[in-house]
Symmetry: C2
Subunit: 362 residues, 2 copies
């Protein structure tokens, strides 16, 4: 139904080839008068090139696929924003898929693990089918990648596709952006201990996610180096609710109640990411505990929404948008870079660290 190139060519009185050369960038430029005629004809008919047909003919689609876990999570949406920016600049389109709804068939087969797994696989397969020029996996990788996923991506890469992951992966030839999760977690705890905190509890994310594991190891490492041991380690989802529930569980385990808490030094809850930390703060408030006087909280990522939170959340700042830009850049480049490393900085705000001494003194 839409106008096609043939019609433009006919109206301009030139061949299909010439029209194509004029309208859709080619190495050959027809004479000025002809070019003009074609342009006018195209404008008059309202011609819009069919990208699908071009993709087929050129065997490159101008599409880049982005897989996130949950686009409504500030962590992922910040990264997506960065990806968008670069994609737009290089005139590529972004195909977005989330893995938090399961595989798509509605056949969510019990285990969350395999549901996410299959959702990721489904997303990747769709992208491969659409022949995206590159695929960015922004979701946290697993220690052991799904063999099917791995096989498909390997083949995809062999066929000229590029794959970028956040965090190490066992997928051969994928470009990886290493995030300083371990180091960051270590530095964060170090800074906190330096400020006088000694009692810690850890809210770890899903144990099968590399991101969660690295951060938790970093926490442990720093504590061990200072001869400290976490009072509790509770696992929860990478979500506000996950942080909320894990915190309640933690408080119950440690038998912390509003009254007699500020004994020596307040407990500091180390959450595996900011979203969990925010959930933790909500949980603490629900129990009438003050932050940071009674209990302190630290997160990880420094998601943009933290800007307006009160009290300010101490965290480890990752340049999320930059990570997105980097991923997109890596995804679009031919073969220059094979990877990159990103580190962040410790950011202490009111929720933990900065007021530790005053909390003690109170």
């Amino acid at each position: 139904m839409p106008v096609k190139l043939t019609e433009v060519a006919r109206l301009a009185g030139v061949s299909l080839a010439t029209a194509s050369r004029v309208l859709n960038g080619s190495s050959r430029n027809p004479a000025a008068d002809i070019t003009e005629r074609v342009r006018v004809a195209a404008e008059e008919l309202g011609y819009v090139a069919n990208a699908q047909a071009q993709a087929l003919a050129r065997s490159t689609t101008g599409l880049v696929g982005l897989v996130v876990h949950d686009i409504a999570d500030p962590y992922f949406s910040a990264i997506a924003h960065g990806v968008q920016e670069v994609a737009l600049k290089s005139r590529r389109q972004v195909l977005l898929a989330g893995t938090d709804f399961g595989g798509g068939d509605g056949a969510t087969d019990g285990s969350t693990h395999s549901a996410t797994h299959s959702a990721e696989l489904a997303a990747v397969n769709a992208f491969i089918s659409y022949r995206t020029d590159a695929i960015i996996l922004a979701t946290s990788r697993f220690l052991e990648e799904d063999p099917l996923l791995s096989r498909n991506l390997e083949r995809y890469i062999k066929n000229g596709g590029r794959v970028v992951t956040l965090g190490a992966t066992s997928i051969p030839h994928a470009k990886v952006i290493s995030i300083g999760n371990f180091e960051g977690a270590r530095d964060l705890v170090a800074a906190l201990v330096d400020r006088g905190l000694v009692r810690f509890a850890i809210l770890s994310g899903p144990h099968d996610r590399n991101t969660a594991r690295s951060r938790v190891s970093g926490f442990h490492q720093a504590l061990t180096e200072r001869e400290l041991t976490p009072l509790a380690v509770v696992e929860g989802e990478f979500s506000s609710r996950g942080g909320f529930n894990a915190t309640l569980e933690c408080l119950d385990t440690l038998e912390i109640v509003a009254a007699g808490t500020s004994l020596d030094s307040p407990l500091c809850i180390l959450a595996a990411n900011d979203v969990m930390a925010l959930g933790a703060m909500t949980a603490l408030r629900s129990r009438g505990l003050r932050i940071p006087e009674d209990v302190q909280v630290a997160g990880f990522d420094d998601i943009p929404t933290l800007r307006d939170h009160f009290p300010g959340l101490s965290t480890y700042r990752l340049p999320l948008e930059e990570i997105g830009r980097l991923a997109a850049t890596l995804a679009l480049e031919a073969e220059t870079q094979t990877g990159s490393t990103v580190t962040g900085t410790v950011v202490l705000r009111e929720s933990a660290g900065t007021t530790a001494s005053s909390a003690n003194g109170a």
Copy 2:
């Protein structure tokens, strides 16, 4: 480079037509044994259908385009999440574009207005070029649509594309999801006044956006009905920073300082959306003003991130994810529905309304 259907057909010893019928849903199903042979061959070769070629042949792409302003904004990411969900269920892919980076050429020509305008136009044109089956415009519409945008979308619709907008539009034949912005704003203020508040200031969003205008009209309407007048109306961007700056300006105008504020009734700042409201709260804190004792704040949308905010923000809850799902559903349906209306509910939390009397009594 990837395996193609011809190769599968050859290996299975059948024709191209048969292979196609077996692998990619057709109305005709070849005999069981043949089906099996083809399946095995496809599996063995690792065949993945080329969606571009299918799109060309079937003249339908299975793509739906989503235009948001800023995917990192919780309002848009919540909607996007809803769109995703429905798209996934119906095995469609989502093409995402943001308009907060300008048109893409980097030719951001001064005025924010036209930069956004052109970004939207660029996104829509790209979607049309990719022949998406539908386009969802989640960005707030303008009173007067860009004629070029309108013309292109009109043609797109005539060619069988579906267009869904959030809020009324002058684009002919677009399906629209009407959001109860005016009514919501009115109800929200009504509830606030009922709780004893009488001094209001308005943080309006960009004046050329329908969303902002409707909400502000709603605020005004409710105030007028109760013979009240806003003490100040300040325009700001639909962002945290916009709310922050507008608030500072507002405080300066009204000469509100930390000391003598709780005279009769605290000032209540009505922000055109939650993100601005959060920025407003941050601004108030930066001036040492307490919420809600000294100044109160109300927002609009009830974005998911509010869950963990303290003090809780009073707002008008819009079912954002549901709006996204609705938009996607409308976008995918043939012609059953031509639109839909969405309303929300007033939600009073600590930031305004609930503590008005106690604040007075203090």
